[in-house]
Structure formats: structure tokens, C-alpha cells
């Protein structure tokens, strides 16, 4: 019996896409062997200690905006879907907006609560664009799931993000139809005070009673007006479900194609970002494309008609490729599961204090005070009432550029907890004439005086429970930045 699925038509277009995944790859077999299980296949994209769903969201959004060729001033709404925003309660959306330099009047919302959050964000943005409430929307989906240690979920959960720019005008890829249904299902969940996401109670029960029937019904509803079976981006919470679902979705029109299969075996399931990351590369090839998402008992599908390649789509494959192999031990350490015993050095300035209030915007936005008289860029603005070059006291506040060359650097190897060595510190001569001292974003092995570098958003610390974000320096040739 097929349950009732509601479908409706949509009216918005994707005008650009960007994706981001962490550089680290851990082998599923390494995790399995730690728990005495027979080794599984594939790898998972996992966060360094200074990456999280917000830094990934920034990277994907930055790439989408670059691909769109839009000034950030054109964005009048941002919708973000993320199972695990950095603040379960707090300024997650505004922190991301500040890093992107969004105008303070920009509309939007943050969706969380389950892996369905990504498609919630996408549909909310579509509605806002269709209604004419916003003209150009940025939709970001990102996740870095924190699976319960030692569970099967740990061998399937990856990390990544995708962002698209939406407009109501006829763009290269039109969102034409959506379908959805729900049941109050206890699939994967965590309680209000729990840190890790719990594995499903019974994998077979989930597959037979929730995943296959619900996603199958919604998928059928998307194509039942006679479209060919076409291409699908579907979630795969345990690494083995997608294949069965795709078989279920095959129609007289032909076998269903799983556009994300290859990436999923290298990156893992990306939670609320899975649907858009999976579909991102396929946005470069004309034809219909179906996205499915599920979580918390909700299932939604969206059909996209790609008329011509979406800007940014051709950079997706390179952004998802590569990676640096890391051990399960390093992953556990980065995740905070393995932490050193003993005292940890507290940040001298508490994140809730007035100095953070004064400095938050300029840190997140990488802002400088540009001297009106001599043009010197003074960083950060709030500690520079007087120009370091000419003594003037008149400034324009401007964002610093994010590319430059190394003036000098060190790699610090003697760091007390919570710092992790090796820790590079770099003085960068920015191409816009500014100069800034920041941490390196990797082990610093590629740094050299005069080498080209660029800045990326990272999490500097989790201080007294508060994530603190800032910019870090990466070699321009780093594998982490290959799309632009």
C-alpha cells in the first residue's frame, strides 16, 4: 500500500552551487578494527579539531557566491540547514552571516533538529523567493555528525556542506516540484542533553519499516507523472541502504542512477547536507534530477530540471576529491573523545565578556580600519584608535582580502592543552596591502617565506563551551582549496 504523499509545484531557480568537505579521510576499516569488527570498505570525510558545521557552511557558501559572480550585497536572505549547529541554542546563524559579511537586515532562518533540516532550509528559501519576499537567497546545508562512539553509525557518518544561490528568475536549474510525508519514527536521535547521535534501535526495522517505504513513496510521487526514472541524490545513513532504495525507485522509464554513489563511499553520509552535496556535480549536466532527504520521521523530495550547467558545478568533483589519510585515533582526538588528562589553559578573555562583544564582528568579518588619510589598514579596528602609520584618527571599516603571501612564519611545537602542536603562526602580507598575524590551518609543512597563501574560516577554540571562530592561513596549493 502506498501512503498519501503530497506534491506541489515550485517556482525558483538555482543560479550557482558550491560544496566543501574536510580534507581528512579516515578508513572505515580503521574504525572497525579498533572495535574488533571485520573491516568495512570506504573512507569518511571527517573534521579537524578546528572544523565544524559552521566552518564547512562558510566554505561552501563562499564558493557558491564566487561561482555566482555576485556581490554579497545581492543576498537578501540566508537559510541554513544543519543537524548540529555549533550552538544548540545561540548565535549560530548570525555567526555564519557575519563571516559572510551579510547585511544586518538580511532575512532567513536556521533549521536543525534532524537530518531533514537541509531540505527544510531549501524549501523555506524557495517559498520566500517564490513569494517575492527575497530576491536572491543563499541556502546552506552542512553537517558534521557526531556519531555515538563504537556504533555502526560511526562507520557511515561523514562531514560536508553544500550551498546554492536561489533566484525567482529563470536560472540554469529550475526547482519544479516537491513531495513529502511523515511518521513519528524514532530513527537516529539524541536527547536534549546528549552529545552524540544514537544509532537506530534495529537496523532491519529502520530499513523495512521506515527508510525504504517512506523514501520510496516520496520518490514515486516525484516521478509518477511520467518522467523517466533519471538521476537521484538520496541519503544513505548506513552505507548500504541507497542501493536497495534505487532498486525500489526503478521505473518502466529505466534504472535509477545514484549520482552520489562514488562520493558517498569516500565521504560517508553527510546528514542534512547529503541531498545537495550529492546532487551538486549533477547540476552541471542537463536533465531532471531528484533529491531525497529524510530525518526525524520526515521525508521530502525535490525535482530539479537542469537546463544548462549551473555555475560552480564543474568545480564540485575536484572539491570532493583528494584528502589526507588520518587514523581513527586522530579523529577521536579532534572530536574531543580523546582528550589529555589535566588542566587546560583558559583563554584570557572569556567569550561572554565585553571585549568579545567589541571584537566579535571584526574578528568574524576579518575587518580592518582603513586610514582615510594614508590608506594604511589597521587590524583589528577596536584596538587602533590611531593609525599606526600616520597618526590619523579617521577610518573606514573594510573587510580585508583573503589572499596574500607569507612575510614570515613559525611552527610552534610546544603547546599546552587545549592547543595542539604543530601549530603554525603566520604573518601574511595580504594582496590588498593589509598585514595580519594568524594561525596556520594545517601542519605548516607547505609554508615558506614569499609563498602564496589564502585565509579560511576555522574554529580557534571551544572556550568555556563557546565556539570561537577566526581566520587561518593555508598554502594556496593546499589540497583543501582546489575549487576557486
Amino acid at each position: 500500500m502506498t501512503a498519501v504523499v503530497r506534491t506541489r509545484s515550485l517556482d525558483a531557480s538555482i543560479t550557482a552551487v558550491g560544496v566543501a568537505v574536510p580534507e581528512w579521510r579516515v578508513a572505515v576499516a580503521d574504525i572497525d578494527s579498533a572495535w574488533g569488527r571485520s573491516p568495512g570498505r570506504g573512507t569518511l570525510a571527517v573534521c579537524r579539531a578546528d572544523e565544524d558545521p559552521l566552518t564547512l557552511a562558510w566554505a561552501a557558501a563562499d564558493r557558491a557566491l564566487t561561482a555566482a559572480g555576485l556581490s554579497v550585497d545581492a543576498i537578501d536572505g540566508m537559510w541554513w540547514g544543519c543537524t548540529r549547529p555549533p550552538f544548540a541554542e545561540g548565535p549560530s546563524w548570525t555567526t555564519l552571516a557575519a563571516t559572510l559579511h551579510l547585511d544586518s537586515t538580511v532575512d532567513g532562518a536556521l533549521f536543525a533538529g534532524s537530518t531533514h533540516a537541509g531540505v527544510d532550509a531549501l524549501l523555506a528559501a524557495v517559498d520566500a523567493v517564490s513569494a517575492g519576499r527575497v530576491h536572491t537567497a543563499l541556502v546552506v546545508t552542512s553537517d558534521a555528525l557526531l556519531p555515538a562512539t563504537g556504533t555502526g553509525h560511526e562507520t557511515s557518518a561523514g562531514a560536508g556542506a553544500a550551498a546554492v544561490v536561489l533566484q525567482s528568475d529563470s536560472g540554469p536549474a529550475r526547482l519544479v516540484r516537491s513531495a513529502h510525508r511523515w511518521e513519528p519514527r524514532l530513527d537516529r536521535y539524541r536527547g536534549d542533553r546528549e552529545a552524540e547521535t544514537r544509532e537506530t534501535y534495529d537496523g532491519r526495522l529502520f530499513r523495512e519499516q521506515a527508510y525504504l517505504p517512506m523514501l520510496g513513496d516520496v520518490g514515486d510521487a516525484l516521478v509518477d507523472d511520467g518522467d523517466p526514472a533519471g538521476r537521484w541524490s538520496v541519503p544513505d545513513p548506513d552505507g548500504r541502504l541507497a542501493r536497495a532504495l534505487l532498486k525500489r525507485l526503478a521505473t518502466p522509464g529505466g534504472a535509477a542512477e545514484d549520482v552520489a554513489a562514488g562520493d558517498r563511499s569516500r565521504l560517508g553520509d553527510l546528514g542534512s547536507a547529503a541531498a545537495l552535496v550529492g546532487a551538486a556535480a549533477a547540476l552541471g549536466t542537463p536533465g531532471p534530477l531528484h533529491l531525497l532527504a529524510s530525518g526525524g520521521g520526515r521525508v521530502s523530495g525535490i525535482t530539479v530540471i537542469v537546463d544548462r550547467p549551473v555555475p560552480g558545478a564543474e568545480q564540485v568533483a575536484a572539491a570532493l576529491a583528494g584528502g589526507e589519510a588520518v587514523t581513527y585515533t586522530r579523529v577521536l582526538r579532534a572530536r574531543g573523545v580523546l582528550s589529555p588528562t589535566g588542566e587546560s589553559v583558559e583563554m584570557a578573555v572569556p567569550p561572554g565578556s565585553a571585549m568579545f562583544g567589541r571584537g566579535a564582528g571584526e574578528m568574524l568579518g576579518l575587518l580592518a580600519a582603513r586610514c582615510v588619510d594614508c590608506g594604511t589598514l589597521n587590524t583589528p579596528p577596536d584596538v587602533h584608535p590611531t593609525c599606526i602609520s600616520c597618526g590619523s584618527t579617521k577610518f573606514d571599516i573594510v573587510p580585508l582580502g583573503r589572499t596574500g603571501t607569507v612575510q614570515t612564519f613559525v611552527v610552534n611545537r610546544t603547546m599546552p592543552s587545549p592547543f595542539e602542536a604543530p601549530l603554525p603562526l603566520v604573518v601574511v602580507d595580504l594582496d590588498d596591502g593589509g598585514r595580519i598575524q594568524l594561525q596556520g590551518g594545517d601542519d605548516g609543512a607547505d609554508l615558506a617565506v614569499g609563498a602564496p597563501v589564502h585565509l579560511v574560516l576555522r574554529r580557534y577554540a571551544v572556550e568555556r563551551g563557546v565556539p570561537v571562530y577566526g581566520w587561518k592561513v593555508l598554502s594556496a596549493h593546499s589540497r583543501q582549496e582546489i575549487t576557486q
Binding site: M347, Q407, V410, G444
Partner: protein, 392 residues
Amino acid sequence: MSWNRVSVIGAGLIHMGELFEQSYEQMARGAFDAAVGSVDNGFDPTEIDAVFVATQRGTLWGQEGIGGNTIPSAIGLAGVACTRVENACPTGSDAFRVGCMAVASGVHDVVLVIGVEKMRDKSSDEGLLARAAAGHPVYTRGESAPVLFAPFATRHMHEFGTTREMLASVAVKNHHNGVLDPYAHFRNEVTIEQVLAAPPVCSPLHLLDCCPQTDGAAAIVITSPERAADFTDRPVFVAGFGVATDHPYLHEKSTYVGLPATVEASRRAYEMAGISPADVDVAEVHDCFTITEILDIEDLGFVEKGRGGIASIEGQTALDGRIPVNPSGGLLAKGHPIGATGIAQLTECWWQLRGQADERQVAVRNGFALQHNVGGRGSGVSVVNILTTNGP
């Protein structure tokens, strides 16, 4: 003509090291006794009418803002005028300068300047390394002490071809001098090979490129040249001093192969002393890291900019070299109890000028000894003091 409006009549220090068994107050008492006992004709400590305390880190007591009343009672002078001076790594040398101004102004007659520092009552992680979490939450995060100087080594190597061997030669020389200094924390020789093979700390600096964390105290007694005649027949005069500052953030430096604060502080001191760098017989300079001494000897004008590494490995700064630098063993071997460091350096200068430095005595031709510190956020503050035997 030198300034010469203040005379040093006594100076002394305690054996530097990890003094776990001594309290802050006990260290102070030891340095005070050494200084008082060094006065040639004997000295009644109640002659002292003002004390300047040099302590950089007050965190030993869980509060940074300790006051000047921590010392007088420990040295039997409760009630005396006392002020704490803090100015980063030049804390001791700046307290001396402040004491000199107090004497020269005529406000005070006999002044004790005493530097005391407990570096090892807390673990390294909670001591200097904890600095990595101080300051700006992002722009200086991770900036532990070596980060203030190692970027200059990176750049000096890049621009001038300075090598790790050249850096190492500074550690080899200062450890050798430390062997000859009974007050030094480390009294062992090291080789270039040992310095190169030491564990990496903060590239390009390795462990033996770095000074240790040392407890210590040093004291110096000053008065007017007129009063000095009551206490000694071999007076040493303050020829001049200078203080200078620079921007506090590392990304605001005008150069990464020198420290402008040192250049300017020394220019002011030379002018006040009426001398040029070539007139200096011996120098005690801030060698918290090997690269720092190389920067110092360039910035102080002893060698041309860029030639500091070569001059060091050639032996120009050895005890018998063209310009002996850090005969006491420097911060690298004698140690760096921050508030005491500058006073201990001045004590060494006093001994050298008076020919009392035993096996490490250098040739004194012109009668001038220079003492220097540099430090603070972005190495943005430097103090230079110059002592002389050439009277008014």
C-alpha cells in the same frame, strides 16, 4: 660627556636556577644581602630611603596586580618608600632607570633596585606557555614566548642566509661563559651539534636556542656621585639610558630582521652617554633566544645589519672577541628570572668594569659596559642602560 648623575655602589645576586626550596621573599633577602655586602666601605641598609621592586609576573599569588609592599618587610625595611615597576622583559632594567631618575631628581638619596621573579612555582604549562592563551582571542592566539622571536629567525635566515649553525654558536658561547659564572642556572658546555639536534620548540628554534625558566633575584644600590664617595673608592657611574617602544602586534612590525625598539632605545642611551657603539667594552644583552642576541648585536650597532650570525660564529662576541657579549652566560645559561634579569645583567657589567669577573673578565679599554633588554607584546619595548668607570 656622559650623564654620570648617579653612581652604583653595590650589586649582587643569588645563584639562579629552579629554586623550588626558596620563597619569593627568601630570594629577595638573598639578593639584598649580596648587594649590601658588596659595598666597599660597608653600608647601613637603613640609609636606603626608597626601594623599586622589579617583578614582572604577579600571577604567583593568583593576581597580576601585586603592589610595591611585597618586599620591604622581607628585607627588614618595612616602612620604606617602595614602588613596583613592571615593563615586560625589560622590567628590571627599567626599574633601574626609574631608580636613577629618583636619585638624580634629588627626591631620594640612596635607592635599592631589587628584581625578584618566581618562574617555576607554577608548571611550564601554567607559566610562560599559558601566554599562548593570553591577549587577543584570535590574532595572538597561540603566541607563546618563542613566537615573539622565531618569526625573526625565519626572516633573518631568508634575507641574510643566517644558518642554524650561526644561531647555535650563540648558545655554545653563552653556555661556555655560564660555566665560568658561579651564579648561572646552567653550568655546562654545549656543542653546535647538540644545539642542532635538540628537540624542536618553535621552528626554526630548538630547545637549546631557548633560555630556561629560572627563579632568581638580583639587587643594586645607587646614590648620587657625591654620596658614593662615602661608600667606595672605585665608583661606577650611570653614563646614560634609553627606553623605546614599538607597535604591540607582530603584524605591525616595520621589519622582521630587527627590533626597532632596541635601535631607538640604544640611540637615546648612546646620545646620553656621549659615546658610540664602538666605545662599548662589554655588553650584557637580551638573549632569550639565540636569534635575539643576533638581532641585538646588530640593532645595538656592534655589527652591520645582517652580519650578526656571521659575527657570532666567527667568535667576535666571545670573551676575547672584538665585542664580548653576555660574559655572564646571558639569559641562555644564567637564566631569565624576568624582573631580576636586568639587575643581574647590570651586576655583571658592574663587576666587569671593576675587574671583578674572575675567569670571565674581559678587557676593559674605554670603561663602558652596556646592558639591554627587549620584550613585551610584539617585542615592543626595549631598555638600554650604560655604566662607566669614567667619572664626571
